[in-house]
């Protein structure tokens, strides 16, 4: 197990190193921030000073190594635009995104897997057919449109929920959270539903496919032949046997939603990181972009690492490195 962890860790380090180069070069290629950062009426002297201060006069590889050197000391640079440390900027927005994404991905998984198992267990019942029809909808309707419809229906017409913002927050461990207040929770519902719909559909499909496949196997037949009740079979046998793809998708969805909740955050004016990134791309705020992309890469590497660990924990064949 320890060897497995070390090996995965080395892999993660290599991936991060490669990603940092790609991100750095990629962002460099997008455009020159100088024209945006420096006002057109600035004198040539101010211009040159600013360029030197931002380190933009050095060759790319030097800029890269300075960046990496600072990064290793926990310094991701300062925003060109806001002139505050990038980490502070992103850190201030992260809790909002985190709570929204966690709530939507976790509820999509719990509800989706339950519905999917039911649909796979009783494929011919009308309820299963309804569930599958809804899941097709979840796949095919564009997210931004659903967001607008949600606002129109529940905020504008019915007035049940607020249309945007985070609502009241409480501070815990020095961080502001919305989901712990009634008002904050009412603000989360609509964007969370918006984010969750696609994932819900995916989890339903995944759990249903797994259930249909596993229920036909000899493992289940044998458990039935031994007299196990259907509830025990679902809980003790099926759930474990369908878990591997579900955990994979859960991890990847968690990562990609954290990184790219942009559309929903924009529609619901949710002050999360997605909004920050869109803004910094439009003004070519290079440090923010680079830091953000590096963090996203780090997030995915970590998630993959955790997924592998969880696999090893729940599946003895992976843990023991066996082939059978």
């Amino acid at each position: 197990m320890l060897g497995f962890i070390i090996q995965r860790f080395m892999q993660a380090v290599v991936v991060m190193a490669v990603m940092s180069v790609i991100v750095f070069c990629g962002v460099y290629a997008i455009g020159n921030p100088i024209d945006i950062v420096i006002p057109p009426e600035a004198t040539e002297e101010i211009r040159l000073n600013t360029i030197r201060r931002l380190g933009l006069d050095r060759p790319l590889y030097e800029q890269y190594f300075i960046f990496i050197g600072n990064l290793l000391q926990g310094d991701l640079g300062r925003s060109f635009v806001y002139n505050v440390p990038v980490l502070e900027l992103i850190g201030g927005r992260l809790p909002a995104t985190l709570e929204l994404v966690l709530i939507s991905v976790i509820s999509a998984t719990v509800i989706g897997v339950s519905l999917g198992i039911y649909a796979g267990y009783r494929p011919d019942s009308w309820l299963s057919k309804t569930i599958m029809a809804v899941s097709v909808l979840g796949f095919s309707v564009p997210s931004f449109w659903v967001g607008l419809i949600l606002i129109l229906t529940f905020a504008v017409n019915l007035g049940w929920m607020p249309a945007g913002g985070r609502g009241d927050t409480v501070e815990i461990l020095g961080i502001e959270w919305s989901f712990l207040t009634a008002d904050g929770l009412s603000h989360i519902v609509l964007p969370a539903v918006n984010l969750a719909l696609f994932k819900l559909a995916m989890m339903i499909r995944l759990a249903r496919a797994g259930t249909r496949e596993i229920m036909l196997t000899d493992t289940i037949k044998f458990a039935r032949a031994a007299g196990l009740s259907e509830a025990t079979i679902l809980r003790r046998h099926l759930l474990k046997l369908i878990s591997i793809p579900i955990i994979t998708v859960f991890g990847l969805e968690l990562g990609s939603t954290l990184a790219f909740a942009v559309v929903t955050e924009t529609i619901f004016s949710w002050p999360g990181v997605g909004k920050l990134i869109i803004d910094s791309i439009s003004v070519l705020d290079r440090p923010v972009m680079v830091a953000y992309l590096i963090l996203v890469a780090f997030l995915f590497v970590t998630i993959n690492f955790v997924i592998d660990l969880v696999f090893a924990l729940i599946d003895p064949r992976i843990r023991h490195g066996a082939s059978a």
């Binding site: 011919d124 036909l216 196997t217 032949a225 031994a226 009740s229 046997l241």
Partner: protein
């Protein structure tokens, strides 16, 4: 004869598929006495497994028992509500499958799986359940059983996994075990070991066995009675020695002729010509007719069951009865 523990009458299990109705089991009847071993032989696709599953009430859609009766210790199983049927499965009747790799759950330890099977019928504490499980594992010949309870299936060989499955089937000392080709997937050397061990265990516990196999050589060394299946029916049954010495049905005779022991050394093994018919397009009348050397126009009718002493067969022109030899 004492009352049989299991009595199957005119059992019919059909699969309602898109391509048509597959009559996988179509009129199967037999009795099983306490402690008896019945060998159920037939080619692949003849309906042996479906017969076994039907007896346990484990037929999944699109299949259904459309007719017939399965009496276990005097209880009719086919009309039993699912909850009561479940309470009997694993306790009064259990089953061992062909492929031990596929039957055990790879993600649970042997101990967990055995405890699930114990707790399905008896609320035993963890300790007591593990003690019972270990005792059974020892009985089926697994060394250091106590420690192996914590192992996962992939840490066992195929033969050992099958022993675990057999131990699970034996947990509640059922009166009947359906053993569906439990040794076919194993090495030859292990096959024989498991075969005779299971026979001895059944004898010790008074459990009756239905031993399913496509290999007449294997079952005939084990079974007290034989039932020969063809296209969803039992075409002949009787005491093993009688059937081997003096078969009536041409299909039984063909199976015996193709045994290595009955053919002369140096000569190729006799084979029954032709292949198993598709159950979707059976000829009317005797299903064996297209492959039968003794076939006559009479065979387009369904042959009725002929009973003679302790044996029976379904054929218009049985082998070994000179007066009915076709012209």
């Amino acid at each position: 004869m004492t009352d049989p523990v299991l009595s199957v009458r005119d059992l019919r299990t059909h699969f309602f598929t898109r391509a048509g109705v597959v009559k996988a089991v179509d009129g199967v009847s037999f009795d099983l006495a306490a402690g008896e071993i019945l060998g159920l032989v037939g080619e692949s696709g003849s309906g042996k497994t479906v017969t076994g599953f039907s007896i346990l009430g484990l037929i999944d859609a699109p299949g259904r028992i459309v007719e017939g009766s399965v009496m276990l210790n005097g209880t009719e199983l086919t009309s039993l509500p699912e909850a009561q049927l479940r309470a009997r499965r694993g306790r009064d009747i259990s089953m061992v499958f062909q492929d031990p790799i596929a039957t055990l759950n790879p993600m649970l330890t042997i101990g967990q799986q055995m405890r699930l099977a114990i707790n399905a019928h008896e609320k035993l504490g963890r300790r007591a359940a593990e003690a019972r499980a270990a005792e059974l594992l020892t009985q089926v010949g697994i060394p250091s059983a106590e420690a192996r309870l914590r192992s996962y299936p992939h840490e066992f060989s195929g033969g050992m996994r099958q022993r675990v499955a057999i131990a699970i089937a034996l947990l509640h000392r059922p009166s009947v075990i359906v053993a569906d080709e439990p040794t076919t997937a194993l090495d030859v050397s292990i096959q024989a070991q498991i075969l005779y061990q299971m026979r001895d265990l059944a004898a010790q516990t008074g459990t009756a066995l239905i031993w399913i196999s496509h290999d007449l050589a294997v079952v005939s060394s084990l079974a007290t009675r034989l039932a020969v299946m063809y296209a969803g029916r039992i075409v002949e049954q009787g005491p093993t020695a009688t059937l081997l010495r003096d078969p009536r049905h041409p299909y039984t005779a063909g199976l015996i002729a193709s045994l290595p022991a009955t053919s002369k050394p140096g000569e190729p093994l006799a084979q029954i010509p032709g292949t198993t018919p598709s159950l979707l397009s059976l000829p009317p009348g005797c299903p064996f007719a297209p492959r039968c050397a003794r076939q006559t126009p009479a065979c387009t009718e369904e042959p009725a069951l002929t009973i003679e002493a302790d044996r029976g067969w379904r054929c218009f022109h049985p082998v070994g009865q000179m007066h009915e030899e076709p012209a």
